[in-house]
Symmetry: C2
Subunit: 151 residues, 2 copies
């Protein structure tokens, strides 16, 4: 996995990071794209929301079934967004506040400071928004802090 940049946030370690970007209280951060990829940012600032794909570089051991942060029952890793997954790839949608050269200022971000960025894709409502999707085991689960001691 070859990073195209680095994600900068105020979340220095796992204990303080929000469970999901959409629930981060609008936490701001920025994405630094390496100069050799900056040409690829042309017109990115036309979009209000973008996907960030990144490498969970501080994730613990992969377990195929485990308790996620928002439930005390175990689920399969592919039925959760947990960081400790075979691909090591994380995905989040953030609001794009603006571009300054190779830097994208974003809000609604949940990733750890210094996370390697793998890709940026535009978020397009007609491709990506499914308001009637079910919530699976998350149905009725309130957001909460990560349970203490849980990886």
């Amino acid at each position: 996995m070859n990073p195209i940049g680095i994600i900068h946030t105020s979340f220095a370690d796992k204990s303080g990071a929000p469970v999901q970007g959409a629930q981060s209280g609008g936490a701001e951060g920025y994405v630094e794209v390496f100069p050799e990829f900056s040409e690829g940012l042309k017109d990115i600032d036309l979009f209000t929301h973008i996907y960030l794909l990144y490498h969970f570089d501080r994730a613990g051991e992969v377990e195929l079934v485990r308790k996620p942060f928002l439930d005390d029952k175990p689920h399969g890793i592919f039925a959760t967004r947990h960081p400790c997954r075979p691909s090591g790839i994380g995905l989040t949608v953030v609001r794009l506040l603006g571009r300054e050269g190779d830097r994208l200022n974003v809000s609604g971000i949940d990733v750890l400071d210094g996370t390697p960025l793998l890709d940026i894709k535009p978020y397009v409502t007609r491709f990506d928004c499914f308001p009637d999707a079910g919530e699976g085991w998350l149905e009725g689960k309130a957001m909460r802090e990560k349970p203490s001691g849980r990886e």
Copy 2:
């Protein structure tokens, strides 16, 4: 990039594949998860929609600025969903029709038959749906076939 499975569709080559899953006319396909990862599928069938992350294994050369399928003006690769991108990672949301063992039957899929699957994540409306997001350069662009001869 270590695949966790293979995506099976009726799209044998690039010329016939739809531009986006949400515009595929409900095309059906299935995801075959390798047996060593099947435990990780526990409870996936509780969800109606899932993300598939996959490897664009037949993409052409990366160009940081190029004409996408839905416009005749060039845009930066990170402002498009074009397959020829530095990460080589593709992303699509599909409807999960059901699980049969290590096989997930899906609809609304746009990927090529035999594509290596990297990850599956549950799609959760409250994390992933942004109905008010702008459409950037896609604003007002109708869906269309891929222009002839364009990679």
